[in-house]
Each structure stands twice: as C-alpha cells, then as structure tokens.
C-alpha cells in the first residue's frame, strides 16, 4: 500500500468521523428554544435552626408558600415566596407526624404528601403541619415500599409513588389499596417501561404520568390509561448520561407547571432543565459553584402559578428562586 492510498484512507476516516460527530450533535443535542431563567434570590445555610437546612431535598409550592423537606433534620420548613421563614413541622422518627428522611413532595387539595425514604411510606399532612394519615409500609408487595422517593396525586385522589429500591412506580387508591404498577418489582431495566431507581413522579394537567428514572438518566412518560408514551435523556434514552442539552446525569426530580411544561433536576450537571410536554428541550439554568445562580448539586424543582421556579441547591443547603427571562427565537 503506497503513501497515497494511506492518505486517502486517512482522509476518508476523518471525513466520516466529522460527519458522525456533526450528525450526532444535530440529532442528540438540541438547541434552546427559550432563553435561560433569571436568578432572583437564594436563602438558607447549613444548620438546624429556622431557615437553615441539613440536606434539603424536596420542594413544593402552593398558596403563596414554599414547602421544603429538610431531610436530615427530619422536618418540613415553610417559607413565603421571598424566602421568609413561616413555620416548621416534624422531627426525626417513625411515629405519625415524625419523619424518616423526607424526600420529594407533592401538594394536592390543601394537603402535603411527603415521601419518606427511611420509613418506607407516604405521610399526608395538612398545610399547617397537622398529620393526617399514612399510606404504605416497608416491603415489596402491593402497596409496600422500599424507600419511597416521590409522590404525585391525581384529581381523584389516587397516589403515584416512585418506589426507589423496588424499581417501580405504584398507583394506589387514597386508602393505600393497590391499583397497578409500572416496572418489574426489584428488576432494573433500560428499555421502555423499565426503571433503574426511580426517584420521583409528576402528573400533568392532561393526566400524563412523568417518571424521573433516576439512574437511567432519563424521563419516561405514560398515558393516563397506563400505556408508554415516550422517553428522553441522551441518545435513545437508554442510560447514556452527559452534560449536553436534554441529557441528564442522575434525574432526581420531575415537576410540571400549569401549562404542562416539564422541569427536571439534573443532579450531577448542577442545573435545572425545562422541556415541553413531549420532551423537547426548551432551556436550562444553573452552573456549578457556590455563588448566585450556582448549584452544588441541583436536586429538586417546583414551579409556582406565576411561572416563578424554586430549586433546591442540595450541597449549598439553600433554596434558589428563578424567573423566566422571556422567550426568544422560533
């Protein structure tokens, strides 16, 4: 083989590689359709006093109040929309009213639903902190949990629970009786309808169920009747993680705003990503660090009625408030 042939082969290899990279980028790295959000303020620091946190993990917003699961302190803290402390409830423990590592939160018709990792249950409180009832117990049977990670509540009161160590999502009636599940109990999978440590769930206004499929680095969507609707997160959404638009590095929270947009806490990428209801990437915000607008692991997000977004900055033990900066482009 002479030098001319070698050069030709090398040139062709370079061309093919460039085409693959460009094609892959165009196919799997979408551009933003909205401008990033604008950082407004942040509050909190490490500690156990009012307004301090020790592992803040979950967040929910309703009626002008922000609810935060202060996990290691075993309590829920409540703030106004500007971060002023209002009240707290719960202490570490197993008895009703106590909390064992509260995780992602949901609010439905004046009640706060708390997924408890250590107690393997969902506990329901009034928004004033009054304990109301407990759903679930430890185990792998129907209506049982192995580390409840997140919960969503349907209009009819049914609960949807991310059952983290059982690798499934369960739908239960309000009294805890089993309705159905997605995923195979105790079995990890990367294909459609399978899970790899699901961390959270959310219900859209149209009844679509979104699942943060944590270690599969993706979001899965299911129709109200239960059928698989779609998934996104990296090429083919099959547990390929990365830092690009629309990709994830451990999805720890999924939340839906009143328009049906989907927000995802992208833990290791230190950012919040926003998608439309079909999973098309819209924008993202947050960069690594400790300053304004920086995250030291973004673990949760919640959207208020007016479009304001609150995010939990896990490693910095604080809550961040962001607002849309206005739409651009197409």
């Amino acid at each position: 083989m002479n030098a001319k042939v070698v050069l030709k082969i090398a040139r062709n290899l370079v061309i093919v590689t460039v085409m693959l990279v460009v094609g892959g980028w165009l196919a799997f790295v979408p551009s933003a359709k909205e401008s990033p959000y604008r950082f407004v303020t942040a509050w909190g620091e490490k500690g156990n006093g009012p307004g301090q946190f020790n592992d803040p993990i979950g967040i929910a917003v309703a009626d002008g109040e922000v609810f935060v699961s202060d996990s290691r302190n075993g309590r829920i803290q409540v703030f106004d929309l500007d971060g002023r402390f209002k009240r707290a409830f719960g202490t570490p423990g197993e008895e009703p009213g106590k909390l064992g590592r509260p995780m992602n939160l949901a609010i439905h018709r004046g009640d706060l639903y708390v997924a408890e990792y250590f107690n393997d249950r969902v506990q329901v409180f009034g928004l004033d902190g009054t304990p109301k009832r407990i759903v679930g117990k430890p185990g792998s049977g129907p209506g049982e949990f192995k580390a409840a990670g997140g919960v969503a509540v349907a209009a009819n009161g049914d609960l949807f629970v991310a059952d983290f160590y059982n690798h499934r999502v369960q739908q239960l009636k309000a009294d805890g009786s089993f309705v159905r599940q997605w995923g195979t109990t105790g079995k990890i999978g990367v294909w459609a309808g399978e899970f790899n440590y699901p961390t959270d769930v959310a219900l859209a206004p149209d009844g679509t169920l979104y699942v943060a499929d944590g270690y599969n680095d993706r979001i899965q969507a299911f129709a109200p009747e239960g059928g698989f609707r779609g998934k996104w997160g990296g090429p083919f959404a099959i547990n390929i993680f990365g830092p690009f638009n629309g990709w994830f590095a451990t999805a720890t929270r999924v939340a839906v705003d009143k328009s049906g947009n989907v927000f995802v806490a992208d833990f290791y990428n230190q950012r919040i990503q926003k998608f439309n209801a079909d999973g098309a990437f819209l924008t993202s915000f947050g960069t690594p660090g400790q300053g304004p607008g920086n995250f030291n692991y973004a673990i949760a997000v919640a959207a208020a009625e007016d479009g304001t977004v609150f995010a939990v900055d896990y490693g910095n033990n604080r809550i961040q408030k962001w607002r849309p900066a206005g739409r651009v482009g197409r």
């Binding site: 440590y197 961390t199 673990i299």
Partner: protein
C-alpha cells in the same frame, strides 16, 4: 490501711478513665463505589444502621467514604459491611478500622 482522700480521688478517676476507654465506640471507614446522590447515600446509611451495634453513619458522596461508628463490643467486620453495602446496591472497595482519635 487507711486511705487518704487524695488516694480515693485518684482511684475513682482511674476507674472512670478505664470505663470510658472500654466503652469507647469503634470507628470504621468504608470505601463505597457508585454513590451518586442522597438517594443512594441514604440507602447505604439505611442498610448499615440496620446492623446491630451501629450507632452512627456518615456518608460523603463526593469521596465515596462512609464513616461507621459502632458501639463497643458489637461485631462489625468486613463481611458484615460488605453484606450491607451490597444489599444497598453498591460495591465495597475499602474497609479499615480507624484508631480512636483520628476519625476525622
């Protein structure tokens, strides 16, 4: 022999010191691969806390190090640690007993 008050104080102090030494907790450092976020860190913590004698578990997700404090007299060996970590879905890559006073 008549004991002076100084001798009494000395003997009581020595007895208290020796009791404290016997009752001192043991501290172990576990290296765990794959810890990614609080969801898995809490899983390791939950499993280790279920082991008899374990009174405290501190997980550092950045380094993957897990510091386990065990009450004096409890059995906590590498096999026990490995079982708990494996059941939590992770791999134990290191196990060492930390001499008291150097756990930080």
């Amino acid at each position: 022999m008549k004991m002076t008050w100084r001798q009494t104080v000395l003997i009581v102090s020595l007895l208290l010191m020796s009791t404290a030494a016997v009752a001192a907790p043991q501290v172990y450092k576990l290296g765990v691969d794959g810890l990614a976020c609080p969801f898995c860190a809490y899983g390791v913590e939950k499993k280790l806390k279920a082991v008899k004698g374990v009174e405290k578990v501190d997980v550092d997700i950045k380094t993957g190090n897990v510091i386990v404090t065990v009450v004096e007299g409890a059995v906590f060996d590498q096999a026990t640690a490995k079982k708990a970590v494996t059941e939590a879905g992770f791999t134990l890559r290191g196990f060492e007993k930390i001499p008291q006073g150097t756990s930080k």
